[in-house]
Symmetry: C2
Subunit: 325 residues, 2 copies
């Protein structure tokens, strides 16, 4: 199907067409990528005033359950909800797969919700880049609340910060904060810090942890908005705090949009992705030059065997294929 | 001075020559870099059986004091000690500059110690790459114990893992573990976890924290060596635990060398740096192509103004300067 035709269907809300378009974006085939680029260009110009929310937390924090509940609340308010994922390790992870539909039971059966697991393979930057394009396609298809799920244990949460308008960091009380892999960078980019599973015997512990974190967060440098991250207590089981969470997200999104910060942030993100895509394409085109693979392999073997120093080997490869600066 | 001549002097232990050689490695001038490459190649082939130790920890953990004490102990055992630093933020950091001589009072006056602050500027990978070359120069100049200092709050500790034979993670009890920015990745690459400032009223607290961390560390996946990280308690003030720390480092280094793991690790690191240098050179040469700057600037302006989608802009730039794959 021609990109224009596919776009027309996707624009009309055709789920199958949206799925096909995303598959094109995730493809590594050259012709698919050309079509994907045309689709993304069309989608970018058909943007609706949606909100992109990053949802980060370590495995086991209850991301899927909270997203299921949060998504239902957004649907109840008349929104259309897409759930995407950036999973840097979906291939090797022994844990849950992000964006797994079976873990979002209610959302996955709702006609106005669209769930897509993380693209696999490639670098983390590449995975996030494709997620960015999927966001544009979803928005063009009428989804106005985009939830991007990721794992807060490495770099992926920083990538998501380049995709989202707002960031929610999920925390669980008593999991051993030092092992939750919480980096300052995540804390600093969080708009809301949400304690999950605040029910049963976990409730008191969560309240205590929230109070402690409240003090710690006050020490962080102020964000562009001048706000400090707020702390909320939620339970996907009882539903406690979820309506409040949605309310806060909607209010924050409104503030960001009205102040012009949202638009500014998105432009800066676009610039980031421009650099990323230039880098990605550069490596790809370099790698595809005739004779590259064999020469690179030979140099790698030399370095691994200790026959050559890495610096000299790198220079030799570059000299062969590109002019010196 | 010709690289061969500079190398001859450096090899004879001439400190000024070593300093000049490192300056070449850190230079961005094209001719300097050519000379630097020749020097590094010569140095790599003159390698002595030294040990490279990464020392990581958050600002305030007492890195400089511990390195001062640790370095003196290594000197007392007849070693020559070089202290280098990988500081991703030396330009913008408000805190101590890594590798600052004034913070290593005893070491900085010792004739067999050499201290060099972090190279500044460029990407973190670029900073670490230059530190790698500085290590080779120091080793060729007769320094057989290399301490590489870095900050464990971001990516720099992962870069150091690509430079070191052994990693020491410094921790301070009661600083609020959740704010020490300890990521699983650092814990997983630590050979020794060393509590600092175990003296005065901090001692009891440190013992408690060490016991807790001992339990947590036992849960981490086993390292290539099959060892779990060990925990040590030290005080730079009283000197407690420092001789033991050196003893453990020396024993571990011996084991790693005898088992062949050290050699294997260094080869893998060389391969990593080969890839890094190819990437770095690729970006550099691409950026230097005639007409690049103007076109890139124009496309960035278009993207920032919302006139163009980033994907299409990236493709246009690439198409102009490189063949399609």
């Amino acid at each position: 199907m021609a990109p224009e035709e596919l776009f027309r269907k996707l624009r009309a809300g055709d789920r199958a067409a949206l799925g096909r378009a995303i598959t094109l974006v995730e493809s590594t085939r050259q012709l698919d990528r050309e079509h994907a680029r045309q689709l993304v260009e069309l989608a970018a110009h058909a943007a609706a005033p949606g909100v992109r929310m990053g949802i980060t937390g370590i495995p086991g924090v209850g991301k899927s359950s909270l997203i299921d509940t949060l998504g239902m609340e957004l649907l109840a308010r008349g929104h259309r909800v897409a759930v995407l994922a950036v999973d840097p390790s979906s291939a090797r992870s022994g844990g849950s797969i992000l964006g797994d539909k079976t873990r979002m039971e209610r959302l996955s059966h709702h006609p106005d919700a669209f769930i897509r697991p993380s693209p696999t393979g490639g670098t983390l930057g590449g995975v996030a880049r494709r997620t960015r394009e999927t966001i544009l396609l979803c928005e063009a298809s009428g989804y106005d609340r985009i939830l991007v799920e990721t794992v807060g244990v490495g770099q992926s949460e920083l990538e998501v910060d380049q995709l989202s308008d707002l960031n929610v960091l999920l925390m669980i009380a008593g999991a051993g904060d030092e092992l939750q892999g919480i980096k300052r960078g995540i804390m600093e980019s969080a708009d809301l810090v949400v304690f999950t599973k605040v029910d049963g015997e976990n409730a008191a512990r969560a309240r205590l942890a929230a109070a402690e974190w409240g003090q710690a967060l006050a020490l962080l440098p102020a964000r562009a908005s001048g706000r400090s991250p707020e702390i909320l207590l939620t339970s996907a089981t009882t539903g406690q705090g979820v309506a409040e969470l949605v309310e806060r997200l909607e209010t924050l999104a409104h503030e960001e949009r009205e102040s012009g910060r949202l638009d500014h942030r998105r432009r800066q993100q676009d610039l980031h992705w421009l650099e990323q895509m230039i880098d990605e394409g550069l490596r790809e085109r370099f790698a595809a030059m005739p004779g590259m693979t064999a020469m690179r392999k030979a140099l790698e073997d030399d370095v691994l065997a200790g026959r050559r120093e890495a610096a000299g080997a790198a220079a030799e490869l570059l000299d062969r294929f590109l002019p010196r600066p």
